[in-house]
Symmetry: C2
Subunit: 526 residues, 2 copies
């Protein structure tokens, strides 16, 4: 009996939760006071957890659990934190973002076992749920406006979403959303716009109300990034799903009220080495048009889940687990909406999932740390249908053939150079251009780079602004590109897609980031 029970007696460090644990060969874990732990956790959550994970198992950044960090001296850890790394970690000290004293604290903090964040279960979720406008108090028909050309504009640091009329360019209303609002998505009809905050707060806005209003909200966890809706025939506007970082789970909600229906955990084993990850983050979600399913991308596991929601009201959910690649992040559909292309950013890979045959088509090597957002689809004059991504780690547009009938299908058929790292790429069927921002290229963050689809070897055009440019979105007709100038006194600049001239500036926006045109978001136009 000893044999079994002997295994059970274990310090938390050696347990499956903080798997990894302290190395016997390394340095001793430092002691931190409760106050130090609190302060360090706060900085860590704010600056480090996005890439390394709250339990520090790594995904976009490397594994920095005590098992690893205890092999380094505190001085070495401080140096890394101060200067950054060639792998892409910012120089937190050098860039003036973290003080020297706090860097000393963080170096110690990453040598002690990570505190495990608390649960967020149905009880807490239900307690947070509020229907602000009941269904029977909402309009029964669409307004007499071109509401499908409304834009939801995220003012990230303010936790606000401003609805702007795409025709008049007037701000219609500004509504509260969660802290550091991450993305917006629409219901299948486009009527409802859903926001997800980094704090796990989901907000639902009704585009048929005049002005659009907040009709429901719910908090589904402590840390979240993704939200989407049921788009398959027969399930339009029925369900919403939120994908969480912590706790690692997804929550299915009713589409008209955000009433929570079911929570499904995502903790599990990495797809390749079958190691356990309690922290198994839902990085992104898209709604299938071919089945009543969502495609969920699990970062740590490298697994793509196809989640069948058609019987969720009986409590039944069916998950198909497809092995893809570690560090899954964001992605989008090809032009047929059959193939889903998702970036495994630490692995310099785009994984292609066939949602009809329900399998991995291919892991395609691209540049360093691809970051497509949802990517961009167009017809290349030589290679036909293509989809493209930019990269966090190098100035490169990787262009992939998405035509399965071609012999070059699912290979990088073309590469465009950028002068540095980028966040987003965007185009529209009606546009002859492909737009890339340079947000994280320190020398050119205020420049928009514009390639021409039919002149793929020509040097790109550039538009230079006075501020950092981030994220592009087209209007419904596909003849305007909206870009954000990102600071506390930010604005949106509307560019004429034909002439590349500035048509309009929409000012008075606090840190505008993502912009989501109702029609294009509903129909996955990108």
């Amino acid at each position: 009996m000893k044999r079994i029970a002997g295994i059970l007696i274990t310090s938390l460090a050696a347990s499956m939760l903080v798997a990894g644990g302290a190395s016997a060969n390394g340095n001793k874990q430092p002691k931190l006071s409760d106050k130090e732990m609190e302060k360090a956790s706060e900085i860590y959550f704010d600056r480090c957890s996005g890439c390394h994970g709250v339990l520090r198992g790594g995904a976009t950044g490397p594994d920095i659990r005590p098992e690893k960090t205890l092999k380094k001296s505190l001085a070495k850890l401080e140096k890394i934190l101060y200067d950054g790394t060639e792998g892409g970690m910012p120089g937190w000290g050098k860039d003036g973002l973290i003080s020297k004293a706090d860097i000393k604290l963080l170096a110690k903090y990453v040598q002690v076992d990570a505190p495990v964040p608390p649960a967020w279960d149905m009880k807490k979720t239900m307690a947070s749920w509020e229907v602000l406008v009941p269904v029977d108090k909402r309009p029964t028909k669409a307004p007499n406006t071109n509401w499908q050309n409304y834009f939801g504009v995220v003012q990230r640091d303010a936790g606000l979403v401003t609805i702007i009329d795409g025709d008049t360019k007037e701000k219609i209303v500004t509504l509260p959303s969660g802290f550091a609002t991450h993305i917006l998505r629409t219901s299948s009809s486009g009527r409802y716009l859903y926001a997800i905050g980094r704090d796990g707060k989901a907000s639902m806005m009704d585009m048929w109300a005049s002005p659009p209003n907040l009709v429901a909200k719910v908090r589904t966890g402590i840390d979240a990034r993704s939200i989407d809706t049921s788009k398959y025939k027969g399930f339009e506007d029925k369900y919403v799903v939120v994908g969480n970082y912590w706790p690692s789970h997804y929550v299915i909600l009713k589409g008209d009220t955000l009433e929570p229906i079911k929570i499904v955990g995502t903790s599990g084993y990495t797809h390749d080495t079958n190691e356990y990850r309690l922290e198994s983050r839902v990085a992104s979600i898209v709604a299938s048009h071919h089945a009543p399913e969502w495609v969920l991308n699990l970062k740590e596991m490298g697994t793509v889940l196809l989640v069948d929601y058609s019987k969720v009201e009986n409590g039944t959910v069916t998950e198909t687990m497809i092995n893809a690649e570690r560090a899954l992040h964001d992605g989008g559909w090809d032009s047929t909406k059959r193939y889903f292309l998702v970036a495994a950013n630490m692995r310099d890979t785009i994984s292609v999932i066939d949602t009809v045959d329900r399998k991995l088509v291919k892991n395609i090597k691209v540049g360093t740390k691809p970051h497509p957002g949802r990517g961009a689809n167009w017809v290349d004059p030589e290679f036909g249908n293509v989809w493209a991504t930019v990269h966090l780690g190098e100035g490169l547009v990787s262009i992939i053939s998405t035509d399965p009938s071609k012999k070059h299908a699912w290979t990088v058929v073309r590469e465009w150079e950028l002068d540095g790292n980028s966040l987003f790429i965007k185009t529209h069927d009606k546009s002859k251009y492909v737009y890339c921002d340079n947000t994280i290229n320190k020398n050119k963050s205020n420049v928009l780079t514009i390639f021409e689809k039919n002149k793929p070897n020509a040097a790109p055009k550039e538009i230079t602004f006075k501020k950092k440019v981030v994220h592009m979105e087209f209007n419904k007709d596909g003849d305007e590109v909206w870009v954000s100038l990102w600071d506390a006194k930010g604005e949106i600049v509307v560019i004429d897609d034909k002439t590349l001239e500035i048509k309009k500036r929409i000012t008075g926006l606090d840190s505008p980031t993502g912009k989501f045109n109702i029609y294009n978001t509903t129909h996955d136009v990108y």
Copy 2:
């Protein structure tokens, strides 16, 4: 940012892992030395964890996490441990199984946070994997014996399996299996016999070898209870699945070598209240004959998983989650092998799963703590096809109609009284009797109770032995019942099913428990 990070700073007690945590209103957690923790963990694992769980969230027994236990005084906890409860907990002190000093220790132990057992991932699993006889060194045809009438007999406390020839009643060979071997299952052809130990060790024996031999073994976790094989057409003898208690996961292995293929975690949310359970034990497994699927029963979650294994070699597994009832334990097929009946023992419920329409048919209330093993199927003279269970908590056979065409389908159509609690029930198509043991009825543990199918209102017959009787199994032809007399100098008694007379005694067995006839196990005859 404080708002978010504030939530992150948390003691382990309040974290999602040991969800529940210490009550602010209750007593203070006592302090135990490392040595005391080790000793208490050992006793707890041995005596308590089966019902309460290693993390103590409860399933067959109640939730006894510190949140609950700190509301009680140490004196009250000691009294419960000593005397037992009416709910079915043994009087550990009263029965002389745990000393007074150890009871004092255990009372304190359950007031402190449960130590979390370690991980057991692919690396450890692979390191434990051994092929003792390679596939190309094994016989290519079946022996000239009636090998389908072999029995695998578990000698539980010895960690051994003895293969006995059902025709000659001779012991052929005794092979090592895991600690406290729990059950045996066969491959679809019957050729291979698989054992699973409570310590997570799976062993594979070849019935075609003369004598049968151990051909492969692997350890898939620290604590396990269930094993089964792929039985669907086209997948015969291809895969094995082991269901674990800790870590809470299942492991898919190759059927011919036990080579590990994939580990899938089962931690998640309870089906009804959506609370998180890191400890989410796989209680039992059966292989579907209608699809390339296993039916896995998750104890804490109350969820039945249909696991599609047809694409596992591409890394793809599909899980359909069906909400059933908490505290799922063991169960078996109805006579058509379409409906799976599983006991939710703490909820006094049998959950019926339709594996063709892939849904819960009904939760049927039965007696106190049903414990069917795999149950027993026969044709009742009045009600037609029925399936029955005995109970851990009362002397009762609950007989359920399994004929969906009848208006009384899925109701308890008949109850037979027993004199006390029971572990197992068994019959065979060719038998006119239904056999029940009384293993946990202190006054009659040495008695076998025998009901007659066609005289359902008649008083049962009894056979009295000199020792505790446990578990019954038929031979291939269905004309003999084998029962175990369970102690260190145990034996198997072979009873003539027609005359109820003893035909043979097979002696010299250490703590014989389960017996598994190759043919009946392969074909789910019960």
